[in-house]
């Protein structure tokens, strides 16, 4: 909302500069974006062109002698409309124009120029506000402009404007009167009355005109008739105030409807009475009904849109925009004024679909029916004064609205309890008096009559807010809540997992959960029902991800494209899916590794399956799952993974994740990923960390090399050895894997280092040998292994 300070000063006596006003308004909750002069230019003066000759060296420049009172300036001007005798806006040398343009003395094609003759555009007026004449050249001041005077003041454009960013609940501030009350509350000033006076002439309109309301979505509908209006340009003050408020002047009648809307907040609509086919009615549109609006666009309507009709056809989209057929034209003589309130939610839905207008903006926020009456009277007042109109007696009234003040009571104790300070009773009363509310108070409580204009106030907490706002939140001293002390809790595990991954040299990412519908189904073999957005912003991000890996893959692609080849990243994020009609979201830990991985001690290694697997193992052991996890190859691995280099991660035979190389059809690089469903993993109980006694007897280390068929899995060999030795085995480590002709084709040799730690005695040579022999026997029986010779 752009506030013209000249306009609001009609209703409130204030003498503060525009910045102070803007800051003071901000302090009570009305934030502003910009505050300054309507025409932000210095060193302007009214001049008269005494002489105007053609520039000898140019086919369009003119050389002018311009009288500015104190001296006569030589100015070169390129405007086609400059001529002898014209009164002009001169920006003198040193003048600063909008856009940081500074006027300097100069020479234009050999001729000195001591200033510039200005167009309205050069003075900073947006082009939509320019008249046809102003678009083509410099601004022509009227003949009575005083030479040497201030042109901005002469034009009535010495206005200051504050552009407010208002909160959604303060529809009342979309009006000059609303602003006046608000400003009055700051400076303790009374709002002046609005002039509604006019004559009423002829036979009562109710004898010849009716309105029929066929919908509950119209609470009040008033109509008046004004005859014999003269369509012409508006007086300067109306035009300037509209411009300052961001509305383009059109003609006096149309401008008056906009002016009254700005003043009262009540949008009006004027119909050309002679183009109406009958009386006005308000109804819901028929499905598919068509209406060409003022902007000459044919709109297709639905039965959710409220329309005004003249009995035969829709002539206006209620609350949004009028129809083209009945608009005010230069030939219009007689006007029907509509002042009405329509259902905010319906107007909002229609305007969202069709068009946001100044009117719909106000209807959406709700209106005060008292203003509905005020606005129609005010329009008559102005039409009589500035359009020579004859106001016809009477008003057609349909009204189901409540207009009396809302009475709300609140105790002083309640006010103080919520604000956390003691506001003296007197101060509370002052707040409501300043706001222009009446009240009655006892020792304990205050009963406030809240005018209808303040639609945002309906409960006692709203009154408390007003006290806080006007009394000033700066007067409240901050303190901490007094609540019994207890330790705060948080889930440390997620943080521990992150820290562990970071300790393993991985970089944490933060990715978008929205992916495209193909990615949303990747890295799983489950038949995932993709959760698609109803209204995505782009097709690239139209679905919620199931797996976090596609998000990480995108990050890898981004880095790869920026020539960052070594990527070791992880993220804990949500994956989403729907199963058995239930939406679920799960915390997942995903990791992606490619390029060189830093092993520590200045060594790097090219990432392979085992490095990535090592990370998983480290993490699982850190989380207490040592000895309980397995990597299992199933027939149905996700198709995004290399079929020969991928596995499922299982804990006690329950799958909790996947690991593998990204399938070569997706990328030429060697990219390895894993993902663990953390919710599933962490729901599994782990043993408490407890001290285990260190054996007093010496540990015996023995190496054992066996030869097996190459299909035999290391995991299985280890399992057999563990089972074979039992509790005596304190450590097992694979230290060599060998393939070669000397051990036979399709064979592989695996060398293990075993640590045997007895609990209750020193091992004898015989016992050690017996243990080793049993291992070999078991391995041979279960896996066909032979001792390597």
């Amino acid at each position: 909302m752009k506030l013209s300070t000249n306009f609001v000063k009609d209703y409130i006596d204030i003498d503060v500069d525009v910045k102070t006003l803007a800051e003071d308004m901000t302090r009570i909750g009305n934030e502003y974006e910009e505050a300054g002069k309507l025409i932000n230019a210095t060193n302007l003066i009214i001049g008269e062109v005494l002489e105007c000759t053609e520039h000898p060296d140019s086919d369009h420049l003119h050389v002018c002698k311009v009288d500015i009172g104190k001296e006569i300036l030589n100015i070169v001007c390129g405007a086609p409309n400059v001529r002898k005798g014209l009164k002009v806006v001169v920006s003198q040398v040193g003048a600063e124009l909008p856009g940081h343009k500074v006027i300097k003395k100069g020479t234009i094609r050999g001729i000195d120029s001591e200033g510039m003759l200005c167009s309205m555009e050069e003075l900073g007026l947006e082009s939509k506000f320019l008249t046809a004449k102003d678009k083509d050249g410099i601004h022509e001041l009227s003949a009575d402009a005083p030479v040497g005077g201030d042109p901005i003041r002469f034009m009535g454009m010495d206005d200051e404007v504050i552009d407010f960013e208002l909160t959604a609940n303060r529809g009342d501030l979309l009006s000059i009167l609303g602003m006046a009350y608000e400003i009055g509350a700051i400076y303790d000033k009374k709002v002046k009355d609005i002039d509604l006076s006019h004559k009423e002439n002829g036979e009562d309109i109710n004898k010849s005109f009716k309105v029929n309301i066929h919908t509950d979505n119209c609470g009040i509908f008033l109509a008046k008739r004004v005859e014999n209006v003269t369509i012409k340009e508006s007086p300067e003050f109306i035009k300037n105030r509209l411009i300052a408020s961001g509305i383009r002047p059109i003609n006096n009648v149309v401008d008056i409807s906009n002016y009254v809307m700005l003043e009262t907040g009540q949008p009006l609509h004027f119909y050309d009475s002679d183009s109406l086919k009958g009386c006005l009615e308000v109804r819901m549109a028929k499905q598919g009904e068509k209406l060409t609006t003022l902007d000459n666009i044919e709109r297709q309507l639905t039965d959710e849109d409220i329309v005004i009709s003249d009995g035969e056809r829709a002539i206006g989209l209620a609350g949004v925009m009028g129809g083209l057929d009945t608009e005010i034209e230069n030939t219009t003589k007689n006007v029907i004024i509509e002042s009405a309130i329509f259902d905010p939610i319906k107007v909002r839905a229609t305007s969202k679909k069709i068009l946001r207008s100044e009117a719909s903006l106000r209807f959406e926020k709700g209106l005060d029916p008292n203003r509905t009456y005020m606005a129609i009277e005010r329009a008559c007042n102005l039409l009589e004064k500035y359009a020579d109109g004859t106001v016809i007696t009477g008003t057609v009234i349909y009204d189901k609205t409540e207009k009396a003040d809302k009475v709300i009571e609140v105790t002083f104790e309640n006010i103080n309890r919520i604000l956390g300070i003691e506001v003296p009773k007197q101060e509370v009363e002052n707040v409501f008096r300043k706001l222009g509310f009446t009240y009655k108070s006892t020792n304990d409580s205050i009963s406030v009559s809240v005018p209808r204009r303040r639609l945002d106030i309906s409960i006692k907490e709203d009154l408390i807010e007003e006290v806080g706002r006007i009394y000033g939140v700066d007067n409240i001293q901050g303190r901490l809540p007094v609540i019994p002390v207890k330790p705060g809790n948080y889930n440390r595990t997620m943080r521990n997992i992150r820290d562990k991954m970071i300790a393993l040299g991985l970089n944490e990412t933060l990715s978008y959960i929205l992916v495209n519908d193909k990615e949303a189904k990747q890295y799983t073999t489950e038949d995932v029902e993709a959760l698609r957005l109803l209204d995505p912003m782009t097709e690239e991000r139209n679905t919620l991800r199931y797996s976090v890996i596609p998000s990480l893959f995108k990050i890898y692609e981004y880095n790869n494209a920026h020539n960052v080849k070594d990527v070791s990243i992880f993220e804990i994020g949500k994956g989403f899916h729907k199963k058995d009609e239930v939406y679920s979201e799960e915390n997942k830990l995903a990791c992606l590794m490619t390029g060189e991985y830093y092993l520590g001690l200045n060594n790097t290694a090219k990432v392979d399956f085992y490095i990535t697997k090592g990370i998983v193992e480290e993490l699982l052991e850190y989380l207490g799952f040592a000895g309980r996890y397995k990597f299992i190859v199933t027939d149905d691995m996700p198709k995004e993974l290399h079929p020969g280099q991928s596995a499922r991660i299982s804990i006690n035979n329950d799958f909790v994740g996947i690991i593998g190389k990204v399938h070569p059809i997706k990328t030429k690089d060697d990219v390895f990923v894993f993902e663990i469903n953390l919710d599933k993993l962490l729901s599994k109980p782990v043993e408490k960390m407890k001290y285990k006694e260190i054996s007093k007897y010496p540990t015996v280390n023995k190496d054992l090399a066996i030869v097996v068929n190459k299909e035999v899995r290391a995991q299985d060999i280890e399992a057999v050895i563990r089972k074979s030795v039992g509790a005596l085995l304190s450590n097992i480590k694979l230290f060599d894997v060998y393939k070669g002709a000397n051990i036979g084709e399709n064979k592989v040799s695996m060398a293990y280092s075993l640590s045997l730690t007895p609990k209750d005695k020193t091992l004898t040579e015989e016992e050690i040998n017996a243990t080793l022999e049993k291992i070999i026997k078991d391995l041979n029986k279960k896996l066909g292994a032979e001792l390597r010779k």
Partner: protein, 351 residues
């Protein structure tokens, strides 16, 4: 015999002096003091001496022996020192060559902020809770006093997946969940950091962004309590000497509502491009929980009151680390991520 002894003394002294290595020194020891050494032989030959001479010569031999031993000892120490010096000299390395590091990865700046906030609020007795990101319209809006068709819903254009389910637009959704779960049983003191989503994407807005929500409900919780809490929060995160400005505002779920500005930490309030010349930076939204919200979620507004606040985590991270483009937080350029691999500086606690 005396001469013989003195000769041995003289010779050995010279030899020890000339000696260059521990091995040579040992040879000298053997030569004079060994089993077949000169002085040992003399001692053995003493049987041929008279009773009177024997003790004289005996003590002389022992005297010389001791002297030689002492010399050898001294020489040995000297040689050992020299040898050590030699060894140390040969072992000089270039200490400026790079160390062999075990390097850590890095934590995302937004998560760093979350952890810092969690630690702060946990220290004040708050519980950190989480809620679903795929939320129902009921919890995201309706239970927060935002019925369908409410104009304030426009402030938060949403991603719906059905008419009922959407990606939460605000962590405030957790407010209703916390109240419904607690039902007046105990005071509520929670913060909820998490991801939120709105249909909005430009240089300063990301369709996905982080928020933290705070909620305190008990008897007699006031605006003054909110103010004090936020003063601690903002100063701890952004700087001790900052000023706060509470600007009345509007949120459907709080009444009264405030937007909180902090004096610009870049220019100190004089006006700069960060604060758009205003001297203030909007940092969070807050207010007293609306009685409708209390009522709808099982709390009697006549008995209980509370405050709630919410702020953007991405912005806090950007302020804290001087990040100028929000997109950097989500593109995850590894060169960007790796910059966050150290601990944050901390103010020393002084008494």
């Amino acid at each position: 015999m005396k001469d013989q002894i003195n000769k041995a003394k003289e010779n050995s002294t010279k030899e020890i002096e000339r000696c260059k290595s521990l091995k040579e020194l040992n040879d000298i020891r053997v030569k004079y003091l060994g089993k077949k050494g000169e002085l040992t032989i003399i001692l053995r030959g003493m049987g041929a001496l008279s009773e009177e001479e024997r003790p004289v010569i005996g003590s002389l031999v022992n005297e010389v022996k001791e002297e030689i031993e002492k010399l050898i000892q001294e020489k040995a120490e000297q040689l050992e020192q020299e040898q050590l010096n030699e060894k140390l000299k040969s072992e000089v390395i270039d200490v400026t060559l790079p160390g062999k590091k075990v390097k850590r990865g890095s934590k995302h700046p937004v998560n760093r902020i979350i952890e810092e906030l969690e630690d702060l609020f946990v220290s004040m007795g708050y519980d950190v809770v989480s809620g679903p990101e795929l939320e129902t319209d009921e919890y995201c809006f309706e239970r927060l006093n935002l019925p369908k068709g409410h104009p304030a819903r426009d402030m938060q254009d949403s991603f719906y997946i059905t008419s009922e389910y959407l990606l939460r637009t605000q962590t405030s959704a957790v407010q209703a969940r916390a109240m419904m779960a607690n039902k007046e049983k105990t005071p509520i003191r929670i913060v909820c950091p998490g991801k939120t989503y709105r249909r909005d994407d430009d240089a300063t807005h990301s369709h996905q962004f982080g928020q933290i929500e705070g909620l305190v409900i008990d008897k007699n919780i006031s605006l003054a309590d909110l103010k004090g809490t936020l003063e601690i929060f903002v100063r701890k995160m952004l700087g001790d000497n900052l000023k706060l400005r509470f600007r009345p505002s509007y949120f459907p779920f709080t009444e009264p509502s405030y937007e909180v500005d902090v004096s610009c930490f870049k220019c100190g309030g004089k006006g700069c491009n960060l604060c758009k010349q205003t001297g203030w930076i909007e940092i969070l939204g807050a207010g007293i929980v609306h009685p409708n919200v209390l009522k709808m979620n099982g709390y009697d507004p006549e008995k209980y009151s509370g405050f709630a606040f919410g702020t953007g985590l991405d912005r806090l991270a950007m302020f804290k680390y001087g990040i100028t483009d929000i997109r950097l937080l989500y593109t995850n350029d590894v060169r960007f991520l790796k910059q966050f691999d150290r601990k944050d500086e901390e103010n020393e606690i002084k008494y």
